[in-house]
């Protein structure tokens, strides 16, 4: 029995999501290999070989895989899967895009977004936006799984796996990469950050989000937003935390001017520590906040920045 973990990377950097995924995979107590599919991605392979508890690193380095499009990467993974019993990827947009296609090619089910491993074939995953947790048993011989990375700690980086190239090349004549606009900022990505400070409708407008950014810089935090703030056009949509945005579970989540509707809570209620700053004492967010400060955010933020 062996496990193939699909690396999450951008051809230069192995993303932290892979470390959480390996940790989840390690709970199955089987030998683990990491597959790196990309173009000019040797650096990623080296970083992958340092991940603790991993035996081998497979590298499929070819121009056709540069943008990791699902059509050909899924064929590659499905082909390699014959030597493995588990194919596991992080529940990132890349994992969610590709893994179901692999499962279909292997004619097996996929178990999405697991938050716990119960046994070799039984897992726990959130349903109804996390308002219920389902225990699912796989009846297939091969298990295709995506992992909700916020539910697992990161694996260590003191390993030394052997790197072996994989020469399989699958062309992709069906879809073609056109362009990409990545929001380049040194601040950590929402799904990877250990501290997040989010703004809601209470921020009043987009410019006021700079008050959050100043505090975020002091804490090395990512900046998020509620759907209300995104819908009001304060900030771009990829900053949205919630049922229909990003699911996060940082060590510290500071909700500023966010009422905390169920849909928002669904995205951040698993954070280790939650702080709520709101002038409305009745805001639902206070129900789940470990520390609540009923005050005007425009007074609190500057003071908070100065104290950090």
């Amino acid at each position: 029995m062996a496990i193939l973990v699909i690396a999450e990377h951008d051809n230069q950097q192995l993303k932290p999501a892979t470390l959480n995924t390996v940790n989840a995979a390690s709970q199955l107590n089987q030998p683990i290999s990491i597959l790196v599919i990309g173009s000019d991605c040797q650096a990623v392979a080296e970083q992958a070989s340092a991940v603790s508890g991993v035996d081998t690193i497979l590298v499929a380095d070819n121009a056709v895989y540069q943008h990791q499009l699902a059509e050909n990467t899924a064929k590659l993974i499905a082909e390699l899967a014959s030597d493995f019993d588990y194919v596991i990827a992080a529940g990132t947009t890349t994992g969610k895009n590709t893994l179901p296609r692999v499962a279909a090619l292997l004619d097996v089910a996929q178990i999405s977004d697991i938050v716990a491993v119960k046994s070799a074939d039984t897992f726990v995953r959130p349903i109804y936006a996390g308002n219920a947790l389902a225990t699912i048993q796989s009846l297939d011989s091969k298990k295709v799984i995506t992992v909700r990375t916020s539910a697992f700690d990161a694996a260590g980086t003191d390993g030394s796996a052997t790197i072996t190239p994989c020469g399989l090349v699958h062309a992709n004549a069906q879809s073609e990469f056109v362009s990409e606009e990545l929001a380049v900022s040194e601040r950590p990505e929402l799904t990877a950050a250990s501290v997040i400070i989010s703004g809601g409708r209470g921020m009043g407008n987009g410019e006021n989000f700079s008050l959050l950014e100043k505090v975020a810089d002091k804490l090395g935090a990512a900046v998020g937003a509620s759907r209300a703030a995104v819908d009001a056009g304060f900030v771009p949509n990829d900053m949205q935390v919630g049922q229909t945005g990003k699911i996060v579970a940082p060590d510290l989540y500071i909700a500023v001017g966010i009422s905390g509707a169920i849909q928002h809570q669904a995205g951040m209620k698993d954070s280790k520590v939650i702080v709520a700053i709101n002038k409305d004492e009745e805001a639902p967010i206070f129900q789940i906040a470990d520390y609540g400060l009923v005050a005007d955010l425009f007074e609190v933020l500057p003071e908070l920045e100065s104290l950090l």
Binding site: E71, A104, L139, L252, L308
Partner: protein, 249 residues
């Protein structure tokens, strides 16, 4: 160009679900059901294509129990032309739904399939991708913008770091994300016309598909409840507690 869209019957977006006391499943008795919000966005996108003269016919498909006809009627009232119900209640996990849809796609030969990225009950986010594999079609998931040219479709997708644009050769499959469009309300005249639009019902046997279970639901339980913490009086007290009590900064 024929466009095929899928809709799923799920609980209403605003319903707070309760887990059954015996932990067997979520309690759906007397719960208001509706079209999955992401599926509504798929129907809306198809209807806009028809209004722009790009789509000539919109076929809406649902896989589920006979009650799903209600959701198909809603899709017809939003502007779909023809509805197909694949009636089954057993084994409706994503892979099996994809297999059934693959047969419908084979019969209908649409140039474009538009589906919701996930259903808000199972939250699987799988069926579109699986259908693409079974039909060997290119896919673009989490679409926030779709523009069709003669034999290809350009799709902007929401990915973790930002936006990515792909060009897919038709026929292709697109799954919708929340900001693709704002679904319209069904007008009363269209609601009345929907009653007269064709709604065919087929079964897995008619499609020559036999379904087997690939997973089994062992139980469902509510998530751990958070209890409300303490109120702090000042920013200073907050910082102190975060540093020394919670040790998170």
């Amino acid at each position: 160009m024929k466009v095929l869209v899928t809709v799923k019957r799920v609980i209403d977006y605003n319903v707070k679900i309760r887990v059954k006391p015996d932990g067997s499943d979520v309690d759906l008795t007397n719960v208001k059901m509706a079209v999955n919000p992401f599926c509504e966005i798929a129907v809306e996108e198809a209807v806009r294509m028809k209004e722009k003269g790009i789509a000539s016919e919109i076929v809406v498909v649902s896989v589920g129990a006979s009650e799903a006809q209600e959701q198909l009627r809603t899709a017809l009232a939003l502007g779909a032309d023809r509805a197909i119900l694949v009636e089954t209640t057993a084994n409706t996990e994503s892979l099996n739904v994809a297999k059934l849809l693959a047969k419908v796609v084979e019969q209908e030969q649409p140039s474009l399939v538009i589906m919701g990225k996930q259903a808000i009950d199972s939250d699987n986010n799988q069926t579109g991708q699986m259908l693409a594999a079974l039909c060997d079609m290119p896919q673009a998931t989490f679409a926030s913008e779709v523009s069709v040219t003669d034999n290809s479709v350009a799709v902007t997708r929401e990915i973790d770091g930002g936006l990515q644009t792909l060009s897919l050769r038709l026929p292709a499959i697109v799954t919708t994300d929340l900001r693709l469009n704002e679904p319209r309300y069904a007008s009363l005249p269209n609601i009345m016309k929907a009653k007269r639009k064709p709604l065919a019902t087929v079964t897995p046997d008619d499609l020559g598909v036999t379904l087997s279970a690939h997973t089994q639901l062992l139980g469902v339980n509510p998530p751990p409840q958070r209890s409300a913490g303490v109120k702090v009086k000042s920013v200073a007290e907050l910082v102190d507690k975060l540093k020394n009590e919670a040790k998170v900064i």
